[in-house]
Symmetry: C2
Subunit: 180 residues, 2 copies
């Protein structure tokens, strides 16, 4: 599965009013506790990969995200499987993986056309919008079309390409920890 995704800072109150006016459909709210892991044999901070156990509403999902495939959006390969969170954490630690950080957030999810819009309130970081198009298979030209579609949609909220944040929540949380 390929995930074409753009993230930016955005105050949720104004965004929600506009989403409602456009006819976007609210599909639910999730409380995420994301534990990120680093590998013993390569540093994901260098390779730009991510390995995460997401605990959401009592279920756990293990997700691997590959390297980002372009320089503007956060497009990357994403693989996931539902798991027993506690045992999967124990397996990863036994294999030599280490916990690199935890990100807690509340996510409100909307659908509009072929896009998923996530309004994330991240503990310690603030409010963000993430817009995502998922594609089973996509070549470079498809990715480009999807990315343009997302940026065209984000213009409605006064968000341009220059506002796109490629830094992950984990990196932001870790950076914030270093500043303290």
């Amino acid at each position: 599965m390929l995930e074409i995704e753009v993230k930016a800072c955005a105050g949720h109150q104004q965004v929600k009013q506009l989403l409602s006016a456009m006819g976007a459909v609210f599909t639910g709210v999730q409380h995420h506790c994301d534990t990120y892991f680093n590998a013993p044999h390569r540093d994901f901070a260098d390779t730009d990969e991510a390995l995460r156990i997401r605990s959401v509403n009592g279920r756990s999902v293990l997700t691997y995200k590959g390297r980002k495939l372009d320089t503007i959006s956060k497009t990357r390969e994403e693989l996931e499987t539902e798991v027993d969170g506690g045992n999967t954490r124990s397996i990863l630690l036994a294999l030599g993986f280490s916990e690199s950080g935890i990100v807690r957030k509340t996510r409100e999810i909307f659908r509009f056309e072929n896009m998923t819009i996530c309004l994330d309130r991240v503990e310690g970081l603030g409010e963000f919008i993430e817009v995502e198009i998922s594609a089973q298979y996509a070549n470079e030209s498809d990715i480009d079309i999807h990315r343009k579609r997302i940026f065209s949609f984000l213009e409605n909220f006064g968000i341009g390409e220059e506002d796109s944040i490629r830094t992950s929540y984990l990196e932001m949380v870790l950076e914030q920890g270093e500043d303290k």
Copy 2:
């Protein structure tokens, strides 16, 4: 979870007659396709660990087995979680793990007192008996008691400590491949 386990060669026909006479309860038959993985940062053949995706009757389970804890039985820590088998395989390969081999077998399972008895017919290897006691927590003295219980049970089938096989099915399958 700790798994105290002893394995030996045994023709199933005679074993089944004795199990039935002893009052052991047949609980089911499973068809296993076990894919084993090796790590990029250490060789499980040296460390005596195992990482496996077992596909059984349409479901998949990821299992990690730690180093063996004694020199007679196959006692070791075991951690597992149900997963999506295809995606978990893709995640392991993306992380740099490699497939080390596949073991296919039919397992008939019986319960007797606190023991699980598995009669395994392994593709290319033949017929085996595995007797297992699972313990949430166990110290050395508990392990010793459980192991003695298993060997005392195995005496009924003319199987002694000297017949205990600590080599895994995977190792046997790989050795057989080398001999060809």
